[in-house]
């Protein structure tokens, strides 16, 4: 079918495909929409209707239907004819009739909707079509990650993912607003970056596309260590960049000379209409030096790489973040994240810690007929660990301040920032886990009583 009718139309347009494969504009309602707004007072019953194995209930044979299609009968007309020729249609209840029509519409009518490839739409499409590409990342889990990582304009998140670029693309969609100075760093554990092909599907603006850079985590950690040792990383990065540029120029010169010697016969290719660059750039040494600067730090961390052990990855990556930066780690399994939560709490590396499991189930919502879809299949959404990172040196300061206060015998309770954060986290955890957690433990408000004592 020709896609010419799509050009110049807004995203979200709906089309019907006729027998010749031509797109015709159609109403926006999806195919097989339920039309009955209210349940009718219907005294008919389906209990007398039985399956007829020889399909004798339908007056039209396959050949008749094929002939009608060949004659160019539209899908809705064909469904109408099927209903008229069905021996049992009139005996069915109104609901059953509606169901029958919907099923036949789905079979004989093709509707096409041109959707904008937003992060949610892409995630949904991949989840149902090709989930291995995005590592079974479900769209509500993706939303949770973006929410807890506090992504917005001017943010500078570190994204370590193995979901085909879905998380990095979703982050770029939020961070890369026109005129914003945010930057998404897609960190990778190995020497080469994981596939980020989904970024190319997103129709990102130039600003949003250019705000994504890839960088090896080892380079970031190395640069951070050198900054901490007091080395001037900027100078060495500038020197490195000059050397890279010189090498590139030399290679280009050699290529030009070779082409001139051979007599260049190749014609320069013309770009197709609407061509736009879609490549994701690797971070230059100076950008890496800038990102790893201790005074800079990433504003948040998103970890969505099941191949990496969450605890080890968090231990390595969190020091690259700014103090109190939120982080969100996604994993298809709960145990690695539970271990990470326990370790982070024990080592006092984070506050506000929570491990959540997103849950999704499709429902039919109609007056008097609202219920979960019987054949629902949402798959597994994985688990999300969230929290705020606290640098160890802040803990040391807190302890020292607490010790001094105790020595002075003051009971003023002047809490440090970190402690206030911890208190806030406890309040939040109490509130959110709330009654469910208390019911599980069966000890009611026991923890609070203990605290009062």
């Amino acid at each position: 079918m020709s896609l010419e009718p799509l050009l110049g139309q807004p995203f979200g347009s709906c089309y019907e495909v006729n027998q010749d494969g031509i797109l015709y504009p159609a109403e926006r309602d999806p195919i097989g929409e339920w039309h009955a707004a209210k349940p009718e007072d219907d005294h008919r019953s389906n209990k007398e209707i039985f399956d007829r194995k020889d399909a004798s209930a339908q007056g039209l044979s396959h050949d008749d239907i094929a002939r009608l299609k060949k004659q160019g009968v539209a899908g809705d007309e064909l469904v109408q004819k099927l209903c008229e020729n069905s021996a049992t249609f009139s005996d069915k209840t109104a609901f059953a009739q509606e169901k029958y029509v919907k099923k036949k519409m789905l079979k004989h009518l093709t509707r096409v909707r041109a959707r904008q490839p937003s992060a949610r739409a892409i995630c949904e499409a991949y989840f149902y079509k090709q989930p291995a590409t995005t590592n079974w990342m479900r769209y509500d889990a993706l939303g949770l990650l973006l929410l807890h990582a506090n992504l917005g304009a001017n943010a500078q998140p570190l994204v370590v993912e193995a979901c085909g670029g879905l998380v990095a693309a979703a982050a770029a969609e939020r961070v890369g607003a026109e005129g914003a100075s945010g930057r998404v760093c897609a960190g990778h554990a190995g020497p080469h970056c994981n596939s980020l092909d989904i970024i190319k599907l997103m129709n990102l603006s130039t600003a949003a596309r250019e705000c994504v850079v890839t960088a090896p985590l080892t380079a970031l950690l190395d640069a951070r260590a050198r900054w901490k040792r007091g080395e001037d990383v900027d100078v060495s990065a500038a020197a490195e960049e000059t050397a890279i540029a010189a090498a590139r120029e030399a290679a280009l010169e050699t290529k030009r000379a070779k082409m001139a010697a051979e007599g260049d016969q190749t014609e320069k290719k013309e770009r197709a209409e609407g061509w736009r660059p879609k490549r994701t750039a690797a971070a230059s040494p100076s950008v890496i030096a800038h990102l790893a600067r201790p005074s800079e730090g990433f504003t948040s961390l998103i970890l969505a790489s099941p191949a990496l052990e969450p605890l080890d990855a968090l231990r390595e990556c969190l020091p690259l973040c700014a103090p109190s930066a939120p982080f969100a780690a996604w994993c298809p399994f709960s145990q690695p994240l539970a271990d990470a939560l326990h370790a982070l709490r024990r080592e006092r590396l984070a506050v506000n810690l929570a491990l959540t499991e997103p849950w999704l189930r499709r429902h039919q919502v109609l007056p008097g007929r609202t219920h979960p879809t019987m054949t629902t299949g949402a798959g597994a959404g994985g688990f999300v660990l969230t929290g705020n990172w606290i640098p160890p040196e802040e803990n040391a300061k807190t302890d020292a301040a607490g010790g001094d206060a105790a020595a002075a015998g003051t009971e003023t309770g002047a809490e440090t920032e970190a402690e206030a954060g911890a208190g806030h986290a406890r309040a939040r955890e109490d509130r959110e886990s709330g009654e469910e957690a208390r019911e599980l433990s069966g000890d009611g408000a026991e923890p609070n009583k203990k605290a009062k004592k």
């Binding site: 896609l3 010419e4 110049g8 097989g32 929409e33 093709t110 597994a380 911890a422």
Partner: protein, 110 residues
Amino acid sequence: MAPGDVVLLEMNGEKWAFVNLKRGQCVPARSPRRHVFSGNRESGARRVAAAAAKREAFPLVARVSFDDDATFHAPLSHSTDARLFSTRFVAPHASCQPNAEPRASASTAR
């Protein structure tokens, strides 16, 4: 939509294709959706019995967790449908509440 845009084509709410739009472009039109359940009760029972026999003949020793969860069929999509989102707190459990354990903060340093 303009040439160069990527479009997510959704057919009958359940088939997806990413298309990089160009002028004069054609894509294969897919056939409309088949019946959700094409058969009667007898054929359904036959399929179930055949699957059971196959499982007995080729028992699965170890299953990958994702393969086990073979529920990724394409859903029907209607505007009257709703997806209910929810989150379940797995941790911290009540027994792990910060108030339940000794407070590891400045106040305990006394």
